[in-house]
Symmetry: C2
Subunit: 342 residues, 2 copies
Amino acid sequence: MTEDRRPTLTTVAQRAQVSRQTVSNVLNTPEIVRPETRERVLRVIAELDYRPNVAARQLRTRRSSVLGLCVPPAADGISGQVLDRFLHALTEEAQRGGLRIMLFTAPDDEAEIREYENLRATTGVDGFVLANTHPRDPRTAWLAAHGVPFVSFGRPWDRGASSHPWVDIDGREGTRAATRHLLDAGHRRIAFLGWPEGSGVGDDRLAGFLAALDAAGLGPGGVVERCEDGVPEGEAAARRALVRDDVTALVCVSDSVALGAMTAVREADLADPARIVAISGFDDTPVAAAVGLTSVAQPVEDVAARAVALVRAQIHGDPVDTDRQVLIEPRLVVRATSPARH
Amino acid sequence: MTEDRRPTLTTVAQRAQVSRQTVSNVLNTPEIVRPETRERVLRVIAELDYRPNVAARQLRTRRSSVLGLCVPPAADGISGQVLDRFLHALTEEAQRGGLRIMLFTAPDDEAEIREYENLRATTGVDGFVLANTHPRDPRTAWLAAHGVPFVSFGRPWDRGASSHPWVDIDGREGTRAATRHLLDAGHRRIAFLGWPEGSGVGDDRLAGFLAALDAAGLGPGGVVERCEDGVPEGEAAARRALVRDDVTALVCVSDSVALGAMTAVREADLADPARIVAISGFDDTPVAAAVGLTSVAQPVEDVAARAVALVRAQIHGDPVDTDRQVLIEPRLVVRATSPARH
């Protein structure tokens, strides 16, 4: 097709039997066009492969309606599944709000910042959604300093960190609910299987466990065994905790650790059928449902909805009508691994 | 900022102390610019928030370098994890080839086709990657009819379907390898736990099982129990298969089904400690590694690399130098659930 024969707004309007303004509305403010008309116009646009005004509109509005999201290069075992669920929910929520999600990847924080530069310059991405914030995170500081709209799934973990819009799950409340559930079921000696000290998320989950013991008059302190995240690691930590004969319940920092604990508990049950040890996990991954593991569910749909609202407001320069920092309560899902004590 | 004070190519070139051509190269053919220079220019572009030529370039080249991928609205249990792993791998491969992945969602095939129209018209997406092709799939026909570059992860399942570029995993070869492995381990009476007849993927996996039995002189036919995908469904199907006392191994169509089978087998082992039943799954999901399940791994990285190459060639109008249809061999991962028969 030569330059001259490219379809124009007028060609589309004629073929779809609508005004040029209607075609323009379909492309710029589709919500004000009747659905049947919108579909007819879109069909004609597709037939003619009419596309130039994408770029022209972007040139005019300086907006792409695209959000960037960095995903890790490969899937990350059982715990990485929460991020994947968030990604699906974010796509849906963004689309509902007239935005799209563009994925990219980077091996570390510095490379991710270079991709921010790249994406702003070459693809015109309007803003970013960050997952997996961590202590001493240079990414949020860079985005704030450059005035780029963004929101993070995860709060800033440094004390005195500059405030920025974020949405997070209240992990402390999650383990508190799990521990309270086990206390209500009659357990008195409960151990926590946690990650090594220093991860914001892990320390927060431990704090909820300790708070629940305190509130039940069983604090301060409690049995705590630490391990890296993983199934064999969880199994070993559970064995260490179960050396104490009076421990009858394990609150685990993740489903991976809980899955390992289930193996250790099965052995302990075989050795002493009178000893029933209850277990709870965290994240409510598909495997938790599959093996009947009580777990703490992260409502990623709520996180996605709030995150899209927060970044959208910044892009449009609207006043942010929700709180700029949102902490969402998780939900305990009770299954077979946390029976009442008999 | 007023219209007049927007940064220009010249402003960027001056600030970065390079020629205007170098700035243009960084944006259009970054691979020919020295990395240090490229980074310096990108840093200046970010500082100045220089963006207009994104749209201008798109206007000139009529290319966005963006591929659309439709993701299901919510995570899909254990079996959905292969798609998520593919998504990560695709992001990485696309980025390596100068392309980005844009996500969208649609409740059904018709809605997905409307989004194709929408994305072509409003965001200028260059092409699409489809996952989860199925019999009577209207999406591939639409894309082919409209001359839109695309590739599918999954072959067309209809006999006589029009050919289009696709990449798929050879599921038949996967179950054949799993069955051969169990035969080599000394098992003679092996059952297949499969999905109801009519799913292309499921029928293909059953065919591999039957072919391996045939090749070993144990065919034609074999013990086949069918169920919907899921853990409790797999458990029930395994119970039905284990009614036959001579069955000592189960080849499962998915890790979900295999996980259910593991529970049924554990019970059978308890009832008769002399009976050891081997199990293999399919997909090598994180849970398979976690519970020691022998499974068939889908090399999604290879699928992603071939898919990007196939769609990229169409976008650039290059001759497609790889096969337009690519079948990739999966890999058997042997773990604890498939011990040799003693």
